[in-house]
Symmetry: C3
Subunit: 260 residues, 3 copies
């Protein structure tokens, strides 16, 4: 499908996206998904996470505020998604910051995510197997990790998406670069987490992970760019982005992407 | 009391409303309660949930993101509220989605909530004792569950409120229909959860659960309608709704309700 | 440093601020810190909280929605911060409401916070060692607890900040009063929690806790005052405050503070 058609399919099909995400991102992730036309469901506990994942159209796992009970739920949901052939996204937030995060991510990667989305520092950490990055913010740019991301994608058999000033997604063979956005988007906390959630919705309606992820990245960049025109700072950018995400009928994603 | 008088009483008395609610709804629930003049307190752990419920003016329990430790706190708070004669609200989010949610709700219903508020699919699930509904969004309209809701209310000895394009509350004998609102309100994540919270505040100042709940539903619908005039999408609708919730002095709830 | 210079240093250095805070405040705390130029990280579980605190520039601990596993993480982070000489802030939310909160705060106070920030009722509870206050809202004004706060600061060897209609910070010898703000700021849920987070960022760049805290209080009051000019209620005040927090280049904090 063309990118605009994938975006339209999300709104038409309203896929059920199970998100096991961090506390900070709950609100913005659910609201972004709702605005895009998807149906978010935050279901995290091991008592129901696996059962629910078997019903969901996609699963998104974000380790931003991890704890042992939540990791149990992540494991159950990822296994259930893998068993059902349901696409799932891993967001390895601040994986380089602590040894605990590194262990969680290594275990989850073994459950074969469809897409791994992070900032450049996070993806560099995974690609080099060397701890790094001081927290949730990146000290590298996407362009600096293009080759490591391609290698990582081939090793994992997954698509790898890196977001920042310019975004890209690659499966190790094909790479799609995505522009657009607004320079103030990083000031909206957890917008990257919300983008991981959105990627889940797009994977639910398009089988090709690279195309689905490119459409998700472009949808966020497009809404951010349109919102930036009317926003005076990060507070107004946030609500304007949700408004634009909910009404994208007069814009096209085509101009935002190019092969890399 | 007249509905406008109940709303005014919430602002005058600023009731302390203990909310044990899901992670996604924390922010919007607390902000809606604050804007309406109530005093929200999120106190969930079993170490203090029962002790706090004995002091609260109302208790609101929402199972949106359940886990065993939280359910322990819900049980303690509901018992404490019941023992103290304090009104309490149950919001059975996505009760049809997993067997775990069904078990939690069955147990909490035995502790005799004053009001049960849900969407049409959730209430239908409770009324028919048959699992259904794929997630947090409803596939039925309130009108389709009017009779089942009345039966359920009589069985439970509680008021049952169903919200959607049009809302109603019933105790099985009397039914009040509530109009108003804005069609984009479902795009604001967890606004229904916030409405359950608001219902708690209204129960704290008015003894009749049907009238109290009707006033809460009308207050939300009224704020949503007023906000819709100025909003360009779900992002701006959210902040405009909070602005309107905080300043309702020039509007009346009377035109929004009718007997059903 | 002058207050404006401290604020500029936060933006220039982007200190990494570890927040173990309540569920309600996660979103607003992180967004306020981001808008001010700091780098927030919500890292709470005992599996990593101590390890992360050793790397952080400041630690902020807020007991708003406590539970035993979170308190384990708070203890680990506070100890790690104390061992590393890293400044840390304690926000004793609703400490008078339950015996559980009182026990948690007593234990954390023994780990020597750099700053304790609360509303007047919370600080009065700590200063008098007598339970009081019904929830998260204060029934006292800051001016009423000026002397008890000074005594408390001397006893703890910490700076004590009290916020409300007018704010102050004291170490028991020096006191700085901070004006400004907007009367609707209390309607933004958890803005006080966000201010505790901001205080952490300022402590990371300025060694004097009284000056650092005064600069944080003034920064919030200044952003609130500027936002109030354009806001129609608590919903618009929130996003306007974030916009103003992110762009404070044309304002000075000097006029907001005076010795007390």
């Amino acid at each position: 499908m063309e990118l605009d058609a994938i975006r339209a399919a999300v709104r038409a099909q309203s896929p059920l996206v199970q998100c096991i995400t961090n506390y900070v991102s709950m609100d913005i992730t659910a609201n972004v998904l709702n605005a895009a036309g998807a149906s978010p469901a935050m279901v995290h506990d091991v008592e129901e996470a696996g059962e629910f994942a078997a019903l969901a159209s996609a699963v998104v796992i974000n380790i931003g505020t991890p704890s042992p009970p939540w990791v149990d739920g992540m494991r159950a949901a990822a296994r259930s998604a893998a068993d059902a052939g349901t696409p799932w996204v891993l967001d390895p937030v601040a994986v380089g910051a602590t040894s605990y995060r590194r262990r969680i991510v290594d275990e989850l990667l073994a459950l074969r995510p469809t897409v791994v989305r992070g900032n450049a520092s996070e993806i560099a950490t995974l690609a080099t197997a060397v701890a790094g990055g001081r927290g949730v913010d990146s000290v590298l740019t996407p362009a600096e990790v293009l080759e490591p991301a391609r290698r990582l994608a081939r090793e994992l058999g997954a698509a790898v998406a890196v977001t920042g000033p310019e975004d890209f997604v690659t499966d190790g063979r094909r790479t799609v670069l995505v522009g657009g956005g607004d320079p103030r988007m990083p000031l909206i906390t957890a917008l990257g987490c919300a983008l991981s959630g959105l990627t889940g919705a797009f994977l639910a309606v398009e089988d090709d992970p690279v195309r689905a992820t490119a459409a998700a990245l472009a949808t966020m960049a497009d809404a951010g760019r349109a919102a930036g025109v009317q926003a005076g700072g990060p507070g107004s950018l946030r609500w304007a982005l949700l408004d634009q995400m909910a009404d994208d009928s007069r814009r096209s994603l085509d101009t935002l992407v190019r092969a890399g």
